[in-house]
Symmetry: C2
Subunit: 131 residues, 2 copies
């Protein structure tokens, strides 16, 4: 995974074996995993990796802009490698989080919001998947 190493270096992150393994998993995922889920997955490839390293590494990735952190579900934070503007759908039954394309929801940016400097806008839809 040379491109993973390159991505890490591009974000000023030393590509250690653990970081490459974690990035190799989490940068390609679409399932919005929690830190513990990432740990479980990465352990399968690199059994010696510790939970602390996974947590710290994910936080590092977020700080360095490789990853986005979403606060959508109670209990645990989830991670999303998709850095492009998009929305999220949370399945009430399964808890699964799905990406929605940005233009699936038309958000009329209310520029007339007196007193607020809006940096980002997050739209979360909740419901169930239809057959």
């Amino acid at each position: 995974m040379t491109d993973v190493r390159a991505a890490l270096r591009a974000h000023d992150i030393n590509p250690s074996a653990q970081r490459v393994a974690i990035a190799g998993y989490v940068l390609g995922v679409t399932s919005h995993p929690s830190a513990d889920e990432v740990w479980t997955e990465v352990k399968a490839r690199l059994p010696s990796v510790s939970r602390a390293t996974v947590y710290n590494t994910l936080n590092l990735f977020v700080e360095r802009g490789l990853l986005r952190q979403l606060v959508i579900r109670g209990g645990s934070v989830v991670f999303d490698p998709n850095l492009e503007p998009h929305h999220h759908f949370v399945d009430d039954e399964t808890g699964e989080i799905h990406d929605l394309p940005w233009d699936a929801v038309a958000v009329q940016a209310a520029d007339d919001l007196e007193g607020y400097d809006v940096r980002e806008m997050q739209v979360v839809l909740r419901g169930t998947r239809r057959a």
Copy 2:
């Protein structure tokens, strides 16, 4: 606070002293407090109240539809007595959550979302307050 007792009864909740105290505070608040913040405030009026009672009572209020629970910030869930449709603004600097009127943001409900039954839509804006 007779109306608080009435509100509790209207939602099939026995108005015990603790519940009245908790409701008396949280139903009138606009600050989106966490459970622990509610506990601190209510203890000032009713020092004997326990943390467990506050947590359990807030969950009961949510179940019974007196209160809404918001997952917006990491770390802790917050409560919002405003049941009408509205949006939220999170101040990056202070962490404060402000209500935004529903029509401050025009969300074009994407009815064309194939495969999704949308039950609710949550819009969270993040940024800073302007002087």
